[in-house]
């Protein structure tokens, strides 16, 4: 049978449910974040691990110009190499029926039998897979097929080795190599409408592309010990393959898809720690206030219990169990919220990451931890209250409650300011400034809430600014066409002559090793022609940076990574030809927010590889009515291997951002708002309990519920204003912290807190606080004030 004290506990809990609800809301969100983000993270990790295992995700990729299979066979026998596949990989332009725009694709060779058992094996989603009937069969990536409405049996055309080849689609598939479908660094969001992967039969690909007994990509799986410390092996691979034109050695941790997925998993883990910590701290503080008040209000009860003969320990446990009950209730609500959240997140992930089976497991240990954490914080929250209970001597508990501290507050010395307000504002001010702990906690809670909202909105805004900067301020071309091989200036004139081309500018991307001291990066230097207009590198303040005839222009992040600045010289070694190392000075710094940039004059760059003037892509301005004609011509260009359309890339980024941003930013604002809302409500309800007699007296005197509630609302407004003041520096710090976390080689945020964003933040936070006031008013209205005046101490 439930002991009497436990029954009291349950009824007390039930009686203070209103006040508790605001705290439970905050605890619930904290635990919800812990359970939800944790569950989503674990499911991602598990799905990723089982996918990688089942389809043999590689540890190393080596991109080459062309290497004979005899060499790769030798490497296969190294003790560190567990498995090795030699593939042919080409970026190509795809011609899909009923689509004028040429699409980009990556063609990957794969054995016609056992393609699911190779490294980075493919998992067939639809279709029957390769048959014996014909050579020119292709399995295409599922997302691309879906976005394009392509089905098994459909045909598509590719320019391969200057010949137009036709493929029959025999299946759609996914692969761990493209779980996050991006081409490589520089791409940050999948664009399945315009980019797909094409798996074709190995032998056919070798024949058509001129790679008989040769490959241009080596993928390896390493033995576990080598995988743990791959640096030496990578260096050796590069040394051995050097004569065959190593373009890039990519260890798993730098592989684009893996990196995005891992970053997401890491990010989830961090958020799953930070967010609950913030919410539960606020909840514990709020609970502290509530429990202290409860202990003070139940003085007589505590005294009686002690007088009857209950020991300090029994009474203490009784009040501690209040915290336990709150903790359990918060954990239950939080678990439900969390699992719902995790489910929604996994659903969202499905549109970004393609896995063969997206698990949704519930992890009991996470739920148990959630319970432990919730109860732990709640017990922490009862601490001051329980301490007060313990300190209370039974005899003292029986005496009258000491009267509330009176007297003037400091603010009253400022006579002219004080006289601006009526007595109800005076009451509010006095109450705010006399309850130091309570006020400090409320201000803190409000500031935390506003800071989180500010952070969410500023990040969203910064992302949009980033897109505008990259795609409007820096890039101006309508269309970029990439070429397989370097071409002479003649290619530019050919491009100029294409239908609808208003302006064509050459671009030479030269992969180089850039080194300074011990730091180095392998990346493409973009060579721009003198008088270029279609790419204008800038500084964050908007100023255009000119590309001088000599030297290199680095983006800020690249300069930081190599530890250089204007005036320093770096070692430049082109990853082709004779690979002669030169020294080049840094002559200017630009700002870029996606990837890393390095610019040089086209002529200067050409001389680095001993050419006079070469290019490998053209940037075009297009006369809109002739776009279709231009597209048709590009589909026939023998040397074209890729196409990007600025407006589409930008639109894709914006659409994805808005779609996912709306959900996550909305949730974040809502959760953060719950803190202001809960804290304001908790405050006001405690205040109502404390000032029952005062409020009742005012009601007897003839004040309306609205006028009485006005005192409490004023109090919350004073706290809100102070909270806004604190939120300034706090939010700024938080944004700095988060933007540093986002400051990676892949992308960065141009952080600027615009006045309108700050204003919107304050407005939103105010709305949350005001909505709490509606409940306060309702509470005052239904208050039985006739009983209130009769209340005895």
């Amino acid at each position: 049978m439930l002991s009497v004290l436990n029954r009291k506990l349950l009824r007390d809990t039930f009686a203070s449910l209103g006040t508790l609800a605001s705290i439970l809301l905050i605890i619930g969100i904290g635990i919800g974040a812990f359970v939800g983000l944790g569950t989503a993270q674990r499911n991602l990790v598990e799905s990723q691990a089982s996918y990688y295992r089942a389809y043999h995700f590689a540890d190393v990729w080596v991109d080459l110009k062309k290497a004979p299979l005899s060499v790769t066979e030798r490497i296969r026998s190294w003790p560190e190499i567990a498995r090795l596949d030699a593939r042919v990989v080409f970026d190509v332009i795809l011609d899909v029926p009923d689509e004028t725009r040429p699409l980009s694709a990556r063609l990957i060779s794969t054995p016609s039998v056992g393609y699911d058992r190779t490294l980075n094996g493919i998992h067939l989603v639809r279709g029957s897979g390769f048959s014996q009937r014909r050579d020119s069969e292709a399995i295409i990536s599922e997302d691309f097929a879906k976005a394009r409405g392509l089905d098994p049996g459909d045909r598509l055309h590719v320019i391969l080795n200057r010949k137009r080849e036709s493929f029959v689609i025999v299946g759609t598939a996914i692969s761990p190599e493209y779980a996050y479908m991006v081409r490589g660094p520089g791409d940050i969001i999948p664009d399945p409408e315009h980019f797909g992967v094409l798996y074709v039969k190995e032998r056919f690909a070798r024949d058509v592309l001129g790679f008989k007994d040769a490959c241009n990509q080596v993928v390896c799986q390493l033995t576990p010990s080598a995988a743990a410390r791959p640096e030496d092996l990578l260096a050796r691979l590069e040394r051995v393959l050097e004569p065959f034109g190593v373009l890039e050695v990519v260890p798993r941790k730098r592989q684009a898809s893996h990196r995005f997925l891992s970053d997401e998993i890491d990010g989830l883990g961090k958020t799953a720690t930070v967010m609950p910590a913030v919410f539960l701290s606020v909840a514990a503080l709020a609970l502290n206030i509530l429990m202290l008040r409860l202990a003070q209000r139940q003085r007589a009860v505590i005294g009686t219990l002690k007088a009857i003969g209950y020991s300090d320990r029994q009474v203490m446990w009784h009040y501690l169990s209040f915290g336990v009950v709150v903790g359990i209730a918060g954990a239950l609500g939080g678990a439900a919220l969390g699992l719902g959240m995790a489910y929604a997140m996994i659903e969202t992930y499905k549109s970004f990451f393609s896995f063969p089976g997206f698990a949704f497991h519930v992890y009991p240990d996470l739920l148990i931890w959630g319970l432990v954490i919730s109860v732990g914080f709640s017990i922490l929250g009862t601490f001051r209250g329980v301490l007060a209970v313990l300190r209370l001597q039974p005899a003292a508990a029986m005496r009258q409650n000491p009267p509330e501290r009176g007297g003037a507050i400091l603010l009253e010395r400022c006579r002219w300011f004080w006289r601006l307000f009526g007595f109800r504002t005076h009451m509010a001010f006095r109450s705010v400034f006399r309850n130091h702990f309570r006020t400090a906690t409320s201000i803190f809670a409000t500031a935390v809430s506003i800071s989180i909202i500010l952070m969410a909105l500023v990040l969203f805004d910064s992302f949009i600014s980033m897109i505008d900067y990259q795609f409007d301020a820096v890039a101006h071309s309508d269309l970029d066409v990439g070429m397989r091989d370097e071409e002479s200036l003649a290619a530019l004139f050919e491009a100029q002559a294409l239908p609808g081309v208003e302006l064509a500018e050459p671009l030479f991307g030269l992969r180089c090793d850039l080194a300074h001291g011990a730091a180095s990066r392998r990346m493409a230097i973009s060579g721009l022609v003198e008088g270029h207009r279609l790419t204008t590198p800038r500084r964050a303040d908007g100023a255009v940076v000119d590309i001088p005839p000599h030297g290199l222009v680095f983006s800020r992040k690249l300069a930081d990574l190599l530890g250089v600045d204007v005036g320093d010289a770096v070692r430049v070694t082109p990853v082709r030809g004779r690979r002669q190392m030169r020294r080049a000075p840094i002559v200017a710094i630009t700002d870029t927010f996606i990837g890393l940039d390095c610019y040089a004059d086209l002529r200067y760059l050409s001389t680095l590889v001993g050419e006079s003037l070469v290019l490998n892509s053209v940037q075009l301005l297009v006369d809109e009515p002739q776009r279709a004609a231009l597209y048709r011509r590009i589909k026939t260009l023998p040397n074209a291997q890729g196409l990007s359309v600025r407006a589409e890339t930008k639109r894709n980024l914006e659409r994805t951002l808005v779609e996912t941003g709306r959900f996550s930013i909305g949730l974040m604002v809502l959760f953060a708002g719950a803190i202001s809302f809960g804290s304001a409500l908790n405050n006001a309800l405690i205040e109502i309990g404390d000032r029952l007699r005062e409020i009742s007296t005012l009601r007897v005197l003839g004040y309306s519920p609205a006028e009485v509630a006005g005192i409490l609302i004023r109090q919350n407004m004073i706290i809100f204003v102070l909270g806004v003041l604190l939120a300034g520096p706090m939010g700024y710090g938080l944004i700095q912290l988060v933007s540093q976390a986002y400051d990676t080689e892949l992308f960065r945020m141009p952080i600027r807190i615009k006045p309108e964003v700050a204003g919107l933040t304050a407005l939103l936070a105010l709305l949350f606080v005001l909505s709490a006031q509606v409940l306060v008013y309702w509470q005052v209205r239904k208050l039985n004030w006739l009983e209130g005046v009769k209340v005895k101490e």
């Binding site: 007589a300 009686t304 219990l305 002690k306 009857i308 003969g309 300090d312 039974p394």
Partner: protein, 236 residues
């Protein structure tokens, strides 16, 4: 009738410290309570009555002097031992009843019986105070007199040897007060319970075996009452 001494207060003093000021609430008080005695302590408000009661009840310790319960000096006991003493020997009745508002009458009594070693059944205790049929009511649903009777039932149910009542009728009207006092008198006479009752009302004092007067923290007189008044004859 020669009865043994249950409680002996010996030169007990209690000084409260309020900031820099020392307020002596009780000065060198001496008092013996014998088994089965009904004593009233009479004095104006602020005279130190409640302080004396708290010392005897083990709710507080004297600043100096002793409070003996049989062979045990309450002044020397730890908090834990005082709790054990209260639990085993003392029943309290308060002016404002001090019932736990979220528990029913029955449960309020149960709150005490759960602690005792061989308590009365809570229903039996409520029957003794004539409230058997109201046991499911919450304090807010009971009249003042009824609440005080629940509080007496609660004190009684532990089978204490000493009942301490602090102005038990202070918040009650005369007829209700009479029933409460009659109940206490009956408990004393029929069950041999020692009772120490605090009041500022001389009329109530007349029902006791002995009347102790306190003025300004000092015990000024202790008078045996040869013919105690029956509780239903009390009037004011």
């Amino acid at each position: 009738m020669d009865r043994g001494v249950q409680i002996r207060v010996e030169r007990a003093a209690r000084i409260f410290r309020m900031g820099d000021i020392e307020v002596p609430a009780l000065v060198d008080a001496d008092l013996d309570i014998r088994f089965g005695e009904f004593i009233t302590i009479l004095g104006p408000s602020g005279s130190g009555k409640s302080t004396l009661l708290n010392l005897i009840g083990g709710m507080d310790r004297p600043t100096s002097g002793h409070v003996w319960h049989l062979e045990e000096d309450l002044a020397a006991l730890s908090d834990r031992e005082l709790t054990r003493y209260r639990r085993a020997h003392v029943g309290f009745i308060f002016q404002f009843y001090n019932l736990i508002p979220t528990l029913t009458a029955y449960e309020n009594v149960q709150a005490a019986t759960e602690l005792a070693e061989r308590p009365l059944d809570p229903g039996e205790a409520l029957e003794l105070v004539g409230l058997a049929e109201r046991c499911d009511h919450f304090p807010a649903q009971l009249s003042g007199g009824e609440q005080q009777r629940v509080s007496i039932a609660r004190a009684l149910a532990k089978r204490p040897t000493l009942l301490l009542a602090d102005e038990p009728t202070g918040a009650l009207d005369l007829p209700t007060a009479r029933t409460v006092l009659a109940l206490l008198q009956a408990l004393n006479r029929e069950r041999g319970l020692s009772i120490l009752l605090i009041t500022h009302n001389p009329a109530i004092a007349s029902i006791a075996d002995r009347v102790v007067r306190i003025v300004s923290g000092r015990v000024t007189e202790s008078l045996e009452n040869e013919s105690p008044l029956a509780a239903n004859e009390v009037t004011w």
